[in-house]
Symmetry: C2
C-alpha cells in the first residue's frame, strides 16, 4: 500500500479493505505500510514499517504475536535490531536507484549482500528492481534472500499483468520466489 | 496534535508521549488527531477524528469503550451519526475563517448553533476562535456547547502562556469551560 502514503485515513482504509478482499481470494497476504491502525481495522495479515515509523517492539505489542511485521533495513545493525525487536522479515534497499521513494539511499548489490549475511531474518530486496535486473539480485547467492518487492516495475508500465507475469517467470527460474 | 499531521509516525509517537507526560502532570486529557495507532501506542485518553478519517464505529472497536472519541461535524446529520456510532463529543466549525486548516468550510455562529441544537453530544466550537471572539461563541446560549478548541489563537502569538491565560479568563467568565 505504499501508494497510499498521502491518502486520508478513511480512503486508505477503504482501499485496504478492497485489496484484502482480492488478496484473500488468491491466498495472498496483505501487509499495510506504516499504518498500524489501518492494518488493525481491516484485519490485514501484517504491516511493513520503516526506520522512521513506529518502533517494531511497539508495533508487535499492538498487533499481537501472529501478525507479520516487516522492517526496512539498510545496515547490518538495523537488521540485527529488527530481529531482536520481533520482526518477521526485513526489506533491504534501495538496491538500485528508484523514483518511487525520494531521497532514498541506494545500497547496491553489495550493501544488500552485507545486510543479508548479517540478518537472521528472511530478506526481501527493494528499490529499482524490475524484470531486467531481478535475476542479478536473486542470484546473489545468499540463502535468506527470499524475494523482491516492486512498485515502478509493475505500476509504471503499460500492462501490469504482463510485467507481473514476466517478473514472476524470472523469479520462478531463480527458484527464489517469496513463499 | 493537529500540528503533527505530516510528521513521520516515529516522531509523532515521540511527541505524543512527551505531551502525554505533561498532560498527566496537570490532570489534562490528551486526544490524538486521526492516528488511532499513535493513540494506542502512547495510551492517550482518546482521539479526534474528521469525516474523512476512519469511521467512528471502527475507531470505537479499536479503542474499546473507555477512550474518548471526538468527531468533527459540520451538519446536524453528521452530529446525529456521530452519536449513533458511539462518539463522546463533537467538534463543530470552522466557526470563523482560519488559516490552520485549508479549504475548510466556515459554518458561522448560526451553523454552530444549528449543529448544537441537533446534537445529543457535547459540542466544542473550533475555527478562528480567539480571545477576541470566544465570548460571542460561548454566549450563543446552547447548553451543550461546552468549550472552544484553538490552535492559531495560542500558537500564532508572542506568548502562548499569556494568550492561554487571557482565553481561560474569558471562558471562566462565560462559565462554560470544558470540564
Amino acid at each position: 500500500m505504499s501508494l497510499e502514503k498521502d491518502a486520508k485515513t478513511g480512503k486508505f482504509l477503504e482501499a485496504a479493505k478492497a485489496c484484502h478482499n482480492i488478496c484473500r481470494l488468491h491466498g495472498v497476504h496483505l501487509l499495510i505500510n506504516d499504518r498500524i491502525d489501518v492494518a488493525l481495522a481491516c484485519d490485514a495479515d501484517g504491516v511493513h514499517i520503516g526506520q522512521s515509523d513506529m518502533p517494531v517492539a511497539v508495533v508487535r505489542t499492538l498487533l499481537g504475536p501472529e501478525k507479520i511485521i516487516g522492517v526496512s533495513c539498510k545496515t547490518p545493525e538495523q537488521a540485527q535490531q529488527a530481529w531482536v525487536d520481533g520482526a518477521d522479515y526485513i526489506g533491504c534497499g534501495g538496491v538500485y536507484p528508484t523514483n518511487t521513494k525520494v531521497n532514498n539511499l541506494t545500497v547496491g548489490l553489495e550493501g544488500l549482500k552485507t545486510v543479508c549475511l548479517a540478518s537472521k531474518l528472511p530478506v526481501v530486496a527493494i528499490g529499482g528492481i524490475s524484470v531486467s535486473n531481478a535475476r542479478s539480485v536473486m542470484e546473489l547467492g545468499v540463502p535468506n534472500l527470499k524475494g523482491v518487492a516492486v512498485v515502478s516495475a509493475m505500476f509504471d508500465t503499460e500492462s501490469i499483468l504482463v510485467e507481473t507475469q514476466k517478473l514472476h517467470a524470472v523469479l520462478m527460474e531463480t527458484r527464489a520466489v517469496v513463499k
